[in-house]
Amino acid sequence: MIRALIIASGLCLLVLPLMGIKSAAIVFISILAVITLLSFIRRHRHIFRIGIKVPAIYKRTAVLVTVMAVLLLPVYGDNYLIDVSSLSGIYIILAMGLNVVVGFAGLLNLGFAAFYAIGAYSTAILTTRLDMPFWLSMPMSVTMASFLGILLAIPALRLRGDYLAIVTLGFGEIIRIVLNNWDSLTNGPNGILNIPSPSIGGFKINRLSHYYYMVLLFVFLCIFVVRRVHNSRVGRAWLAIREDETAAEAMGIDTVRYKLLAFSFGAFWAGLAGALFAGKMHFVSPESFTFMESVLILCMVIIGGLGSIPGVILGAVILIILPEVLREFQTYRMLALGSGLVLMMIFRPQGLLGGRGGAIRG
């Protein structure tokens, strides 16, 4: 209760200068109410537990409805919704990639946007300078990003925990600064314009709904592949490294090799997301790949639940949709997001869908 008071008054003080005393009071009271309710639920969990056991048929129906809703989105949604959804798709791929590195292998990576940037810029440069078709430049960009993932991992593997995080953060900044200053190749802060739309045969992908389906295809591919790798010898080796590196090594796992693999497999998806981003926006600039971008992706993974695939998808969708929903609050929306994160860390540090032990059960 005291904790609730402290949190509520802290957030209230944050809001006070922006929204005035009246709104601050409302914020204070509502937060207090939410926290009290949450802690009541937590304390009397057993009452609610019975209700949680959902029969398999409901679960399957829910999945089916979700998949249908996602597939038919361009039919009932307006352009705005389709656009935001495509963006969510790109971030789902990013978050899935980072989840491999942070959630599975337990290697904190704060420079993940660098691989996203490599993917996007490779596609941009290959398609505009060398007039390569999108579908050829995409695999090349992805390869490039994976290769850079290995390159970063080699020096970084000597470090653990916080130290590793700092090196990856530095790496992310280096990539961004290089993109910003290598004028002859990247056109500096102005970015690269006029990236052509991808096309299949004679069919040009240039409408919002086309992009939506293109991104969706890759999201499904990503989920499919990552799930399969997660539930395999490789996935188990990653989890073992996350849990206890020395013991993993003693169980016969070549930890260096599997960490390299995690980094480059994660970077692979970031590169793919980058290529999709470049193809969708027709424009890339260093501004899209700042440290804040890395933090945003990391937030998606953490909010959804480290190591949990459905959690990470949910996290990505929430963090893209939420700021859009909160758009009318304009300046306050980041504040609301921030306070949401704080509450999250206090009440559900394992993430929304991150139960103990991540998602897999062998």
Partner: protein
């Protein structure tokens, strides 16, 4: 030929000589115990044998092959399995997954076959699971296969470590104080398990503090004190050895 041959193995940490000039042989199929007071260098010895630490000097031959300088995972691959003194299970994985992971060096399928899921992969995955359950049955934990490893009581966690070491399919198993923190009942059960391991054809090196346990089960014992091997022999000899008594109880004071 002995299964494991250790020649003048020395490990120093700065000025501290944790293990000094240790020489011994472990014959196939025996229970070989390493005893000694706290800080005698027993765990350091284990870490040198499994590649977690690199010995400062000396050689280690396993099945006639020099293992000094090899990485821990390579040594596991050669056939040396181990447990840890302070339990090091993978807490957030299930009991079954813990044992499945340990078959890593006996299986092949990489990332590509995991994605494609061909016949080879499905077959291998099934065999990993089947064997894991077998090892869990051996230590009597198969009922708890689906529980998170961290939820197991202490004694079960120790037995899970043994199942995990077994799953690496070793010829030689190093058990680092497997009975630490167990009550006499649990210890007795554990020793039955160790005996069964031997009957299964495994060679065992055991670090243990409980003298009754060690004397009852071992075929051969070496005693370390301050990193130096002060005695070796069959249990009866060790019990009568004045140097061992001194190391444990101190020198008798004579007027």
């Amino acid at each position: 030929m002995a299964l494991l041959e250790v020649r003048s193995l020395t490990k120093t940490f700065g000025g501290l000589r944790a293990v000094e000039d240790a020489t011994f042989e472990v014959k196939e199929g025996i229970i070989f115990s390493v005893i000694g007071p706290n800080g005698a260098g027993k765990t350091t010895l284990f870490n040198c044998l499994t590649g977690i630490l690199q010995p400062t000097k000396g050689t280690v031959y396993f099945e006639g092959k020099d293992t000094v300088g090899l990485k821990p995972h390579t040594i596991t691959g050669l056939g040396i399995g181990r447990t840890f003194q302070n339990i090091r299970i993978f807490p957030e994985m299930t009991v079954l997954e813990n044992v499945m992971v340990a078959q890593h060096s006996r299986t092949r399928c990489g990332i590509i076959s995991a994605i494609i899921r061909g016949k080879g992969f499905i077959h291998e995955e099934a065999s990993i699971k089947e064997k894991a359950i077998e090892y869990l049955e051996f230590v009597n934990l198969s009922d708890l296969a689906k529980s998170p490893a961290s939820s197991l009581p202490y004694g079960d966690q120790r037995r899970l470590e043994i199942a995990r070491a077994l799953a690496t399919e070793p010829r030689l198993i190093l058990l680092d104080e497997p009975a630490a923190g167990m009550n006499p009942q649990e210890t007795a059960e554990l020793m039955v398990l160790v005996e069964r391991l031997r009957q299964w054809g495994k060679t065992i090196i055991l670090i243990e503090h409980d003298m009754r346990v060690v004397m009852g089960i071992s075929d051969w014992i070496i005693v370390l004190d301050h990193g130096i091997k002060i005695a070796e022999g069959i249990p009866e000899e060790i019990q009568r050895n004045p140097a061992v008594v001194e190391a444990y109880l101190g020198k008798e004071f004579t007027y």
